[in-house]
């Protein structure tokens, strides 16, 4: 960032940009956000409207939904780490698996199998969802992205947005535009006590499931030959190819792994929210992308961390920061709270929490 000083040719705007004013105003904004958070929190805690029980409840809800964001975010971060490309259609990969498995779930529920064999049913749903998402992700890579591999970076980005809409409306054509409620699995209802606090079984399954999947991915990337090949392609595609790595195959695997995680996230998501429709991938996709940026895009641990933080912020944030201030409709301001914190993090850590240093990206 320290360019050679050439005052003669440096334009006015550049000079302005280099004045500390910009930095100072950013820091002032940061301080304003921190002040708002602290003041709001104090005010809320003083009202005493919520007890410890409620706060733990919010926290667990946040971790549960954050786990889903994290799983989707892993797909963004994997593809970015290897192709330096934001796959904006990833939310639709998630939707495809979840929506397809709905029909299997309702068939299983219709025959009573879902409640008689909840574990087998759950595994079947997981497999269907993962298989669908992987298929969609691979098709996406083959048809939409591979032909553009040499193109400028903006081209695949726009293609991804187009692919996202294409997938949404394809699935609308296939499955209809109604919102559908997933049948509930009776065995997963109810709560368990953890350290004296009740946690619903569904939340527990989501959190544990996400943790296992994240761990599996981490080991896969760090400990296997394929994982090493993926890291190598991410580092430098040409050199990796010279070293005898099949780049196309590695990229395919990356999309397949991202798709599989999205498919699994699709089933965990419906445990929490029970509802599917053709636009369901858009918002979680956006949140997951945010989570990936928050954690430092390209970093696997960062994506998981970013997802959890975003989830907790969304669940706890409006209640903790806003209800005490007497602002009407605090819960409508959820995105402002979570994105305000995102801005705060990016002011101080432009590369995200665990992101690579700035000059390596670009």
């Amino acid at each position: 960032m320290t360019a050679a000083p050439t005052p003669m040719v440096r334009g006015l705007s550049t000079r302005l940009a280099r004045l500390p004013i910009r930095r100072i105003s950013l820091i002032a904004l940061g301080i304003a956000i921190i002040y708002g958070v602290v003041a709001g929190t104090t005010a809320t805690l003083r009202t005493g409207k919520f007890d410890t029980h409620d706060w733990v409840n919010f926290l667990v809800q946040g971790i549960a939904r954050g786990s889903v964001y994290a799983l989707i975010a892993l797909g963004y971060t994997l593809v970015y780490g290897i192709l330096l490309m934001i796959n904006f259609a990833h939310g639709e990969v998630f939707m495809a698996g979840s929506f397809t498995a709905f029909f299997v779930a309702s068939a299983l529920a219709g025959h009573g199998f879902l409640d008689r064999q909840p574990i087998i049913s759950f595994v079947i749903l997981l497999l269907v969802s993962v298989a669908t998402s992987v298929t969609v992700a691979l098709l996406l890579e083959r048809l939409a992205y591979r032909p553009l591999r040499g193109a400028p970076r903006l081209v695949p980005l726009i293609t991804a947005i187009g692919a996202s809409l294409f997938l949404q409306y394809t699935f609308r054509g296939l499955y209809g535009e109604q919102a559908q409620a997933y049948p509930e699995i009776d065995a997963f209802q109810g709560t368990v006590q953890i350290a004296g606090f009740p946690v619903t079984k569904e939340q527990l399954i989501v959190i544990v499931g996400a943790l296992i999947l994240w761990l599996a991915l981490y080991l896969f990337i760090e400990r296997t030959r394929t994982g090493r090949a993926m890291r190598a392609v991410g580092e430098d595609r040409q050199i990796a190819a010279l070293m005898g790595i099949d780049v196309d195959r590695t990229i395919r695997i990356t999309f397949a792994v991202g798709g599989a995680l999205a498919g699994a996230a699709g089933i965990l998501y419906v445990l929490l929210f029970n509802q599917v429709n053709f636009t369901m991938g858009f918002i979680p996709g956006l949140k997951a992308f945010t989570a990936a940026v928050l954690g430092g895009i390209g970093s696997i641990t960062g994506a998981a961390l970013g997802g959890l933080i975003l989830g907790v912020l969304e669940a706890v944030g409006p209640t903790l920061f806003l209800t005490g201030t007497g602002i009407p409709s605090a819960f409508q301001l959820t995105p402002i709270v979570s994105f305000g914190i995102l801005v705060l993090v990016l002011i101080f850590l432009p590369g995200g929490l665990l992101g690579a240093p700035e000059e390596k990206r670009a």
């Binding site: 409207k49 409840n57 809800q61 049948p183 029970n274 636009t279 918002i283 209640t319 209800t323 819960f331």
Partner: protein, 454 residues
Amino acid sequence: MGLVIVILAARWLGQVGSSPLQHGGREHMRKLNRKGVLVVVTVLGLIAAACGGTSGPPDACTSDPFGCVEVGAGEPIKIGSLLVITTADASLGLDSQYGVELALDYWGATDFDGANGQIKGHDVALQAEDDGCSAEGGTAGAQKLAADEDIVGVVGTSCSSAALGVADTILGDKGIVLVSPSNTGPALTDPAKHKPFYLRTAHNDKLQGATVAHFAYNELGVKSAATIHDGSPYAEGLANVFAEVFTSLGGTVTAQEAIQRGDTDFNPVLTSIAATGPEFLYYPIFVAEGGLITQQARGTAGLEAIALQGSDGLFTPDWIDAAGAENAEGVYISGPDLSAFTGDVDFYNNVFIPAYTAKYGPPGSVFHAHAWDATNMLLTAIDQVAIEQGDSLFIPRTALKDAMFATSGFVGITGTLDCNDDGDCQQAVTIAVHQVKNGEFGDPIYSEASTLGG
């Protein structure tokens, strides 16, 4: 008169052209002159023709600030619809759309023959657009309709958010009359916000919100209630009217919250509401979020067993699907009382509903009759103001709007329609409350008649 001017001007032009003064080197200039004169003559001729020449449009068009829609020989009269026909709320709009289609079919006929009726020898054609149940959708759809200068009037929108300050303004600015079968948001006909080309055959939620409050306080006997809206004028209007009336009855409103459309996790807001301990939760919102709140309220400590209430935005089997039948069980839903229509009820039960069911299956929502009435009101007004001239038909826009607002004692299906200056055509309505049983809305368990004036 116009013709005379044109002839005189042409003769003068002829004289100028043949003037002996102009010759030789002045040829060039003469040509220019002639061209200029031609322009002047043409303009004069046009003005003259517009002033009432026998071949121009009728006086009613020139005096109308928005002019006329001219329907040429053999061309159809085009009306638009702007209803939510996609997304999770599609069943709400499609139900109205079918009401419009049936009304066009039945117009001027005595049966449903599948062909649209005619007005003064011209077919009536429908251009259907989508309001997306949002301000964005309403903007896009209304702009598309407003860009078509042949559109005479529009039946829509489904959702108040698509009309308020959006479709009512975009279409009104072009002098296109907009009549809604299902906008119930009070703001739309609030004198401070009402747009001059907007009317509705749906009830005003000042009445529905009050009925729900009466039902909760008097019928269910609950003394404390909480509300959730989604920021749309419809939901916010209903939640506010309910809270106002419920408080005036002596009840306590423990929390008034708002959510974001498109959100999926309502546990924080529900937990927050549960902490205030209401006996009754009113969320007059739409299908997707309404389904999720129904599910999640059942799983929120403190809200598992309290009474849940929605309104006509949820009055569709799609909401039961979205919530899951076991979660929807026992929820109260308000809407227009279809069994208390005061209009042509025999026709509704014995002709309309069988024809609807035969063509589209069982109704997906509760505003098909309002759409039928809105369409008939529009067609009647067109028939009243359309001027036949030669083979063409001229429909003055402001006169059409005035004819709509002058609607009085119009017997429809839903009742007798009398439009007031603010665009409310339904002065007396009966709102019913249904309770979901075995995955169906069933018959009303409570019904209340009220009038706008009182």
